[in-house]
Amino acid sequence: MSEGDQELRGLMIRYQGGSLEAFEEIYAQLATGVRRYLSHLAGGAEFADDLLQETFLQMHRSRAAYNPAYAVKPWVFGLARNVFLMGRRAARRWASVHESREDFPEFPVLPEADRLGSQDEIRRGLAYLSPDQAEALLLHHEWGFSFEEIAGMLGTTAAAARARASRGMADLRAALSSLQRTRA
């Protein structure tokens, strides 16, 4: 467990003990990343704030479900994914966005992919990936989760999570070169 995770775990234990300050600190450390993840899942920032509130409210109501043996960050990201999937409205949005594959506002841009093209091109390239590939790719490269953690969140094996991310990166490269050729 990393130093950041250790700190978050300590905060979670204090929060379970009834500390409001610990909750605020957890929010301060995780809200930005969780919001970006929700923004990716929902295909835009429109509902991300609502979903973010729901995630932290759900975390509060289910704070007893956290066991200090778990790393906090994947637990909260997994909960955010859960909140998103449980929300019908957001799920419908997900379906429509991934059918159209037109626009991905506020889509996160991978640090590794930065050299492959402009931010706009990368956003467009990511939109061509399958939702599974894009999610695994972003969880690993953008939010720094290990493949074991991604596997636990997505209900798959670490090898499958790695394969999705790897295929996603290959497809992203192909999409980017295709986009660049079209532009040229």
Partner: protein, 240 residues
């Protein structure tokens, strides 16, 4: 220096501040599954204490009676362990493991049923009850099927309710699946006890009556899981 870290919205803070009582962390999946053993053992063996073991135990031998039931009981605990994993947002097991365990449970019951029938094809009830009751059961075997089906469904249902309480903090992405898994665990655990007590070996009885009870507990678990999942998403709505 300006602090740019995000602050929770006021509505959220109000909702949080309303209930900040200390809570006890949930156990890990293995601990949770192990804690279920005493009650599952008690309820599944209640039928043995009530009517005693079947009278062809010597023919079947310890492997096909206590051994097979012990293995089935362990499989039931494994299903509860998988359900507990399914209930953690970042602790889910690969789908292949989940489905393989469910199929293994099903195949195990069918295999043991057929093996029991081929070893001791007991078709007439020899229950420790007055002779006229045994006579009636011989003439109308469906009564026995009905009794076993209803009895093990009720016992399994009690266990499912207890498991639902133990899984009340579940954060499963697929709550219906999590419920079905611990429902299957309850069904298999109960069947592990009932199969040693029931004097009928015919596949139609073992799979029709006892199998139906397992399916009923799976469905009950799935329905409760679904209800708890919906309730969670409902109470988790945005703070006003």
């Amino acid at each position: 220096m300006i602090d740019r870290s995000p602050k929770p919205p006021e509505a959220l803070m109000r909702a949080i501040a309303q209930d900040l009582r200390p809570v006890k962390p949930s156990p890990q999946p293995l601990q949770l599954a192990l804690r279920m053993i005493p009650l599952a053992l008690l309820i599944s063996s209640a039928i043995l204490l009530a009517v005693g073991p079947r009278q062809d135990l010597n023919v079947l031998g310890p492997f096909l009676t206590w051994g097979a039931s012990a293995a089935q009981f362990m499989l039931a605990i494994a299903l509860i362990w998988i359900a507990a994993h399914e209930s953690i947002p970042a602790g889910r097991l690969p789908r292949q493991i989940v489905y393989a365990a469910a199929v293994a449970g099903l195949l195990f019951v069918v295999f043991v049923t057929l093996l029991t029938f081929s070893t001791s094809p007991a078709t007439a009830p020899l229950v420790r009850v007055p002779p006229q009751v045994n006579e009636m059961l011989r003439d109308s075997p469906w009564i026995m099927g009905f009794g076993c089906g209803i009895g093990s469904t009720v016992a399994g249902g009690i266990l499912v309710l207890f498991f639902s309480w133990a899984f009340r903090n579940s954060l499963a992405t697929r709550p219906t699946m999590a419920g079905a898994l611990y429902g299957a665990g309850a069904g298999l655990a109960i069947n592990a006890g009932w199969r040693i007590a029931c004097p009928f070996s015919t596949p139609w009885h073992a799979l029709g009556a006892h199998g139906a009870a397992i399916i009923a507990t799976v469905l009950l678990g799935a329905l409760i899981g679904r209800y708890l999942g919906k309730r969670r998403s409902h109470i988790g709505g945005r703070p006003s």
